[in-house]
Symmetry: C2
Subunit: 505 residues, 2 copies
């Protein structure tokens, strides 16, 4: 981040604004997934670490109707350098692109690139529709114009895009016999798992990392996410947890007095005077939540430049101020670890565009309804309940669209999801780090012999998909090694079976 | 069919016109499925044999996009008289409505009604969108106006309709724990099987009767359908087969001479003078194909009033004319068994509306692309090849829509369909009668321990789903008895497992 170019700088402002959504503390947790990835764009403006060709494929805008709609060009990144080809039925590793520019996913999913050569595998990273360059209607401006143009931005359409792309690609390469292994992190992990359920003929297995497939309706308690975030702080220090828990009341009280907003603006080094307490609360709450997601064991610059185990650092700061330091002073010092680890930011820009048409915000207002709440017993956040009505009102206001809160569970299985997976699925790894607040909405226990959970106590949001580093702890090496073994097992079984099937047919 | 009302009469004309499509011998066999059912409407205009309530459910027009479209009212027939209710987790039998008025399916699917009481089961027959009363845009006229209004008439949307309906219905009845068993015949059977693959959490098993799920792309040879039709005649009599095989040339020769069309018109008792040989050939070819489908062992009035084993009767007629009778005379006498078994028709009306907007014709021009051909070695029909280009041209002309011939295989599995089913599915019965020309595109061997094929040598198109009659042969009783046992097995296993799952969770 040294001497950022003007271009980088403008992106940074954009990102900070992404992080500070003006909605009250996020009741529909889905928004975190999207903003997480959108945020990750800041720090990756550089030449890709990995080699690939960039190609484009014409996709139908609506796979499930025959409306006369313009097709669009889906971008995909492909590397066949290590692929052993159709003659050896060599595997194809496909990363299910999620809610962002596919180049950033490619850059941040080193695991796939690193293991492909040892499998003789082709690597493909198709981009999710409505993100990056894969824009219907020719441009982002047109694609994001209104609810009508955005209406084909759904998970089912994205799954169908992947199914069509891989089928055509295999046909063109005479690679029909080449098994496909899916990868995905976060929402991409959900897509990978759902692909296994909905398109079992397309792939032989999926690594779904940090995929909160159960974070819908009432499948898990709505308090789960914020409880895990809170636990991350409590684990480090009870006094840190308590300071944060107290801070909301203090902010409220200060904010309500005459000149209080000015005082808060000053205390927190906000560039422009705060217009409401909510803006500040959200800014803080976002930081705590993202800290829990990127609570990686070694220094990263994924979302923000951060030390290893950043929550420990935040708490150390909060706790280490001398007696007599105010709650707000402690919070400011703590949060600065997140927002200003490099120490180069003079003041924080909370400018926000609450009605900005971000793709994931659309998804969070249509299908990805992930109820969230915070209760006083387990959470350090203010108490709040999930209110579907107000969520619906907000979505109608922002996008003129009505959420379908029961659609994902109808389409992919609700309470019956695990038993459907058990009876119908095979070869899925649900990998999770238990520090990650999304882990509570994922699958944490083995579902069957071949649908397995790999959890690490100290892992955070899809850490396993990241490139190997010299600082990787043993438990992370073990997790990745288990993943490689499982994938190899799927492939071995596939090759064995294929011989059998060939003989049988 | 005695003294038909004017209403009945007008439907009869409509039906005869359905039977005689003006396209050359049907290259896209899908059209037969739809017309078969459309045709069945003639003879069922009567009070239903079965008791049910008629209800309506508001459905989204496009489940897979958020376009601002009007919802539509889906009709469903429901009987809860024998249902033992949620407290006993009593089953729900759901027939996947296909391409026609749901009341006719309910009337012609006696098997489901007859077995429901012994299972304490609720019976539901939801209607397929765009058929019967389940019309988007308020009326058939509006729904069938153009390619845009028709564009949501797809199998995937219909499957989603069933998934949403059953999920909501169960929620409203607090019947979430009640297992759903699916039934379907022909295209409805395909939907039932696909539901098992795509919505495994929605049902516990499916009886897919005469479901040609493999009649796509190159999964089975395109000659299959017409070869089976031809075999039906060859089996009865080689001379009958040969007479039919010769007849096409004779018709061509006669048709091409001066006054030839008039001569053919007279020979075949056509009301209005033939405009082309094709019209006559199609009329004959349709009769042979439908005869093979309804080659039931006892007299029926399903499609037309017919004797038992009607192909035997047709061939007996063709063969029994005295030596010296012309080929065309033989053909006319034979075909009259089909078109005029009651002897009440003075002349045949071949009027056709080749561009009539029938729902199934739309489906056959969009997703349901079932390639068909006829070769001289196995077929009694003229030789022809499947020509995707001309099919596409016809669809562009008729509906301004371009077929997607590889979509169904991408969505539901192509060559990998059986292995996907084996790995991912369970509890499907593919029942077929081998006299049925659709049997060649269905699943005729067990796929796994729980995905089984029940075939009868002498059965025709979804005979097993029809109501029991006194004339049912033993092999039919056996087939139905096996089906009942298998369904009971699914339910028993489900109840056993549920206890285990409840204890485990």
């Amino acid at each position: 981040m040294s001497t950022p170019s003007p271009f980088l700088h403008s992106i940074l402002i954009l990102i900070v604004s992404f992080l500070c959504k003006a909605s009250a503390i996020q009741q529909n947790g889905a928004r975190y997934l999207g903003n997480f990835w959108s945020s990750s764009r800041t720090l990756s403006v550089r030449a890709s670490k990995y080699q690939y060709e960039t190609k484009y494929f014409q996709q139908k805008l609506d796979h499930f109707s025959f409306a006369d709609l313009p097709s669009f060009s889906q971008r995909y990144l492909i590397n066949t350098q290590h692929w052993e080809g159709p003659s050896r039925s060599a595997p194809i590793f496909l990363y299910c692109g999620n809610e962002g520019d596919i180049e950033w996913f490619a850059d941040n999913t080193g695991f796939v690139w690193e293991i492909a050569p040892r499998f003789g595998a082709m690597v493909i990273f198709p981009e999710h529709r409505y993100y990056g360059e894969s824009m219907p209607y020719g441009s982002k401006e047109e694609a994001y114009k209104n609810a009508t143009t955005l209406s084909y931005l759904t998970a089912e359409q994205a799954l169908a895009d992947y199914a069509v792309l891989i089928t055509e690609l295999k046909r063109n390469l005479s690679a029909q016999a080449c098994p496909v292994v899916l990868f995905g992190g976060s929402y991409g992990g959900m897509l990978a798992a759902w692909m296994r359920l909905k398109y079992p003929h397309i792939s032989i297995g999926a690594l779904a990392s940090s995929a909160p497939v159960l974070q819908f309706e009432d499948l898990v308690p709505p308090e789960t996410f914020y409880s895990i975030v809170s636990n991350g702080f409590r684990r480090e220090s009870m006094s840190c947890f308590n300071t944060i828990k107290e801070s909301w009341d203090v902010i409220n009280k200060v904010g309500q007095i005459d000149g209080g907003l000015a005082q808060l603006t000053k205390t927190f080094h906000i560039c422009r005077e705060l217009e409401s307490i909510d803006n500040l609360s959200n800014w803080l709450e976002s930081a705590y939540s993202y800290l829990a997601m990127v609570n990686y064991p070694y220094p990263t610059d994924f979302l923000m430049p951060l030390p290893g185990s950043p929550i420990k650092e935040v708490c150390r700061k909060i706790d280490s101020l001398p007696d007599g330091a105010s709650v707000l002073q402690r919070i400011f010092e703590g949060i600065s670890i997140y927002y200003n680890y490099t120490g180069k930011v003079d003041c924080f820009n909370l400018n926000d565009d609450p009605h900005g048409m971000s793709g994931w915000d659309w998804q969070a207002c249509t299908e990805m309804i992930m109820p969230m709440a915070s209760n006083m017993t387990t959470s350090m956040f203010p108490e709040f309940y999930y209110d579907p009505k107000s969520n619906e009102e907000q979505c109608l206001k922002d996008f003129h669209v009505k959420p379908r809160p029961t659609w994902i569970t109808t389409e992919f299985g609700g309470h019956a999801f695990k038993s459907a997976l058990k009876a119908f699925g095979s070869n899925i790894i649900f990998s999770n780090g238990l520090l990650d607040p999304w882990s509570g909405g994922s699958v944490l226990g083995d579902v069957s012999e071949t649908i397995v959970a790999l959890t690490t106590k100290k892992g955070a949001h899809h850490l396993d998909l990241r490139a190997a580093t010299a600082e990787d702890p043993d438990w992370l090496l073990d997790q990745r090694s288990s993943e490689i073994k499982l994938i190899r097992g799927w492939l071995d079984e596939h090759y064995d079976e294929k011989k059998a099937v060939s003989a049988y047919r």
